[in-house]
């Protein structure tokens, strides 16, 4: 019977006020242990691994000297254009598909096929059609990251309750009023959920486009490091990219948090 008691005891212990400092201790110890191990074993794999401090120094150097900052601007531009494209085009196509049942039945299978197809394999086709410059990159990047917004909008527009549309029809709404008073307010939260995902996913698209279409920006910097086995450089940029990714996911969650609050206050 000892097992049960210990299990119950453990469960209870977590519900006591002590849990928070155990939690903090876990977080802190995991970070400290990883950094310590990173530092301690940093020099034991030859050129393949560098200690934590070396990595951070290299990151600092690259930021101050400029190459990383310059690459960040190049990648940032592609990222922002991708995100804006995703929002504008994704919401538009989603609404168009939802507006007519026939059109959505006709094209939806192909949207899903395109979504499931590994976009990287389409890169040669895109480059044959459009070349290797900025806009082909946008095409690849958008192809990777548009679908959550598009499908979210479609799903939202489709789930508008029949009653809402009927009420609008009874009160003689014209097309413009229907959109302003019913469709747009109803679809917004669905689109926002897609936008939240796209904030993170557009970064994937940006990196893929930069890696595979005539390397540029942050991806090019990483590939340069790989070819000459400049481990410190590659590790520093990887950490940097991870930090940006965490921030972007955080921004996405913030967007969702505002959205949930807004939805609660709107529904009442």
């Amino acid at each position: 019977m000892a097992t049960h008691e210990s299990f119950a005891g453990r469960a209870n212990r977590f519900r006591t006020t002590n849990a928070w400092w155990i939690r903090i201790a876990c977080y802190v110890s995991s970070i400290v242990l990883l950094l310590a191990a990173w530092q301690a074993f940093g020099n034991s794999f030859g050129v393949l691994f560098v200690p934590f401090t070396t990595t951070m120094l290299r990151l600092w150097e690259m930021l101050v000297d400029g190459p990383l900052l310059a690459a960040l601007f190049v990648s940032g531009e592609l990222y922002l254009v991708t995100l804006v494209f995703n929002i504008v085009v994704g919401v538009t196509i989603g609404l168009l598909l939802a507006r007519s049942k026939l059109i959505s039945a006709a094209f939806e299978p192909y949207v899903y096929i395109l979504y499931a197809t590994p976009t990287i394999s389409l890169v040669p086709f895109v480059s044959v059609l459009f070349g290797f410059e900025f806009w082909p990159r946008v095409v690849v990047s958008v192809l990777i990251s548009i679908f959550p917004i598009l499908l979210g909008t479609l799903e939202g527009a489709r789930s508008i309750p029949r009653q809402h549309l009927d009420v609008a029809a009874i009160f003689g709404s014209n097309e413009r009023q229907l959109w302003r008073d019913v469709i747009i307010p109803y679809v917004t939260p669905f689109a926002m959920t897609g936008i939240k995902q796209s904030i993170a996913l557009s970064m994937v698209g940006t990196l893929v486009a930069e890696f595979f279409l005539n390397p540029d920006g942050i991806a090019a910097l990483m590939l340069e490091g790989t070819t000459v086995v400049d481990t410190a450089k590659v590790m520093a940029i990887t950490v940097f990219v991870a930090a940006i990714a965490v921030v972007l996911v955080g921004i996405g969650e913030l967007v969702e948090w505002f959205l949930v609050r807004w939805r609660h206050s709107a529904v009442g």
């Binding site: 097992t3 049960h4 299990f7 977590f14 849990a19 155990i22 939690r23 977080y27 110890s29 995991s30 393949l48 939802a98 507006r99 007519s100 049942k101 026939l102 959505s104 039945a105 006709a106 094209f107 939806e108 299978p109 192909y110 096929i113 499931a116 197809t117 590994p118 976009t119 990287i120 394999s121 040669p124 086709f125 044959v128 059609l129 959550p148 799903e155 489709r158 789930s159 469709i183 995902q197 993170a200 996913l201 970064m203 994937v204 990196l207 893929v208 890696f211 990483m222 490091g225 790989t226 086995v229 481990t231 590659v234 590790m235 940029i237 990887t238 991870a242 990714a245 965490v246 996911v249």
Partner: protein, 272 residues
């Protein structure tokens, strides 16, 4: 899909309902649209673009030549084999770590910083450092596929096993369940739909990332073939590979969704 029937355009609904039998407008529409897409593609390339650009008729003509070659089957076997191997290893590892994280809070707190950070990171950004560590070899591809599957599976398994209903735990305890019964007899089965959703997501990412590694590390396989064929200006042959990859990816997704619906009809799945 109750939402399907509440489409915006009610007029089409009524007219569609009037059409008798299985030959409804909704069933015919995708076929018409598909043919239209292929036709537009064919005509635009034939009239506006250089001869080497891939077009539907060219792709179909390239099928016999491509499929009869030895390299094609070699590429298919190595790429799909590596993906399947990575999915199996990544899923098993992800489930074990995920259950542990779901049932032991200290472990969850200890690991979650890294798991969540890696989960947020576009895995393509890990390819360069993995190439440095593992080399320009097929092992890099396997490692990346394993990570691609491991992360979503670990996260969904942890979420699923943490969300186990209190009642199951209480019943288990009453019948004298030991820790391993709690983990693998109660928590794991009830987290099954979460786990399948994680594998579904990981599988899709694994396919994409396997191709990415092949191209960046020059590992022979289907992804590499898409790019080399295209560089040789054999665009149609390149597209045959793309179509095969698309068929594989679509069937995997459809199969996993069907499996999940069969396993847990109530669960809607992970997104992203």
């Amino acid at each position: 899909m109750a939402t399907l029937s509440s489409g915006l355009e009610t007029g089409v609904n009524r007219r569609a309902g009037a059409a008798a039998g299985w030959l409804t407008r909704e069933r015919v529409a995708p076929v018409v649209a598909g043919l239209a897409i292929l036709l537009v593609w064919e005509v635009v390339v034939a009239t506006q673009l250089p001869d080497f650009v891939a077009r539907p008729s060219g792709i179909i003509m390239a099928v016999p030549e491509t499929v009869s070659s030895k390299e094609f089957w070699f590429d298919v076997v190595v790429t799909l084999g590596a993906i399947l191997e990575g999915v199996v290893i990544g899923s098993v590892a992800g489930v074990l770590v995920g259950v542990a994280m779901g049932r032991v809070r200290e472990l969850n707190w200890f690991l979650s910083t890294y798991i969540r950070a890696l989960y947020a990171l576009p895995l393509i950004a890990l390819v360069p450092i993995v190439i440095i560590w593992v080399g320009y070899s097929s092992t890099s591809r396997l490692v990346i596929v394993i990570i691609s599957v491991f992360l979503p599976v670990a996260v969904t398994t942890a979420d699923g096993t943490r969300a186990v209903s209190r009642d199951y735990i209480d019943v288990g305890r009453m019948f004298g369940a030991r820790t391993h019964n709690m983990w693998f007899g109660i928590a794991l089965p009830s987290a099954m739909p979460f786990i399948v959703a994680g594998i579904e997501l990981g599988f899709a990412r694994g396919i994409t990332n396997a191709i990415a590694v092949e191209v960046l590390a020059s590992v022979p396989g289907m992804g590499m073939a898409v790019f080399t064929k295209s560089n040789e200006l054999n665009e149609n042959g390149s597209m045959v590979y793309v179509v095969c990859l698309a068929i594989f990816a679509v069937s995997v997704r459809a199969g996993m969704i069907r499996f999940r619906h069969w396993l847990a009809p109530w669960y809607r799945g992970a997104t992203g």
